[in-house]
Symmetry: C2
Subunit: 196 residues, 2 copies
């Protein structure tokens, strides 16, 4: 009965791949049962044989994008000198990722996790998304005593809420109005939270 499992997993993945493509390309609002099934090469009702509802399917994509984001960030901050400088570069790259793919921002922070497939694992992944992406940077700062260990958790929280708040305002409320202003604001906030 192992074949059944890997076959099911394969078909599930066709739907997930289709969803990911739509999310990255046209955005969250373009993800619909019919649209996804079309791209996956199945009838729309077939989707319900593999996922409880469209919401479950959408949130299944979170872990893939988180992984992709991690690689994206690592590629952008690897050249920087380790320490608070690279930490800031990682945060900046994290922000860059979501500005580049607004559909993924919508998925991570705006989409409502309703219906049968609440997928609390995905919600947890999102809550720890920035921490996860910056994990190595934080660890280095602790090892090298660049930041007092007892401050780390508080700093992580500050960064998490501040970054998410700025992204929310910029992506969803057109504030600030220009991308340059936005980046300036991000750097200012980062410098306020992460001294040196």
């Amino acid at each position: 009965m192992k074949n059944k499992e890997i076959q099911e997993k394969r078909i599930k993945n066709y739907f997930v791949e289709a969803t990911r493509e739509i999310l990255k390309g046209e955005g969250l609002q373009a993800v619909s049962v019919r649209n996804v099934a079309d791209r996956a090469g199945y009838s729309y009702a077939t989707l319900y044989n593999y996922f409880k509802d469209i919401n479950e399917l959408i949130f299944v994509c979170v872990s893939d994008f988180q992984e992709e984001c991690k690689i994206f960030v690592a590629g952008k901050s690897s050249k920087k000198t380790k320490g608070t400088e690279r930490l800031k570069a990682s945060v900046l790259a994290y922000i860059h990722y979501f500005v580049e793919y607004p559909g993924i921002f919508d998925l991570f922070y705006l989409a409502k996790p309703t219906g049968a497939g609440i997928n609390s694992a995905a919600l947890h992944l999102i809550a720890k998304s920035l921490d996860d992406v910056c994990e190595e940077d934080w660890n280095y700062c602790i090892r090298e005593n660049l930041i007092p260990a007892e401050n780390i958790e508080n700093l992580k929280s500050q960064l998490r809420f501040s970054v998410t708040g700025m992204l929310l305002f910029y992506m969803n409320r057109r504030y600030p109005e220009t991308h340059d202003e936005f980046l300036l604001q991000v750097k200012k906030q980062m410098d306020t939270i992460i001294k040196n």
Copy 2:
């Protein structure tokens, strides 16, 4: 031709009132053209004689709620001693308002301003929402030299993004899981940003 205007304004207000009621009660997801028109006592197509689309109608409610929020906050923080203490109480009351009315949080921070009625005035109002609610508190702190004047704008930004970020995580991502944990986190963040 003044009668025409006040009549039109009256009917517009019937739709706005209905929308506000639904937003506060059942939430943003319950606001639909049919639902609003039903409650307003009109056919749903009539709505389009007074508003470009449902999105415009929704964002028209922002100023009313902002006003209501201001009164809500003032009532909760008026007893506190002026200064940073009352400032923190105001921020806490602001958060309390949106936790009490999730539909209004959805409107302020989650709803997509798409379609014909982008209503950039409403977006600006939202961006300055917390600053507006805390205006008196900030002014008092400046007058009494409780906070260096050159820090004010940066502190406002920090508070704005941090508070919105925390609200977003708590309301939309179930993080933290309990209300007590959430309040503890809010207080911690506030104390970090506003010293004394």
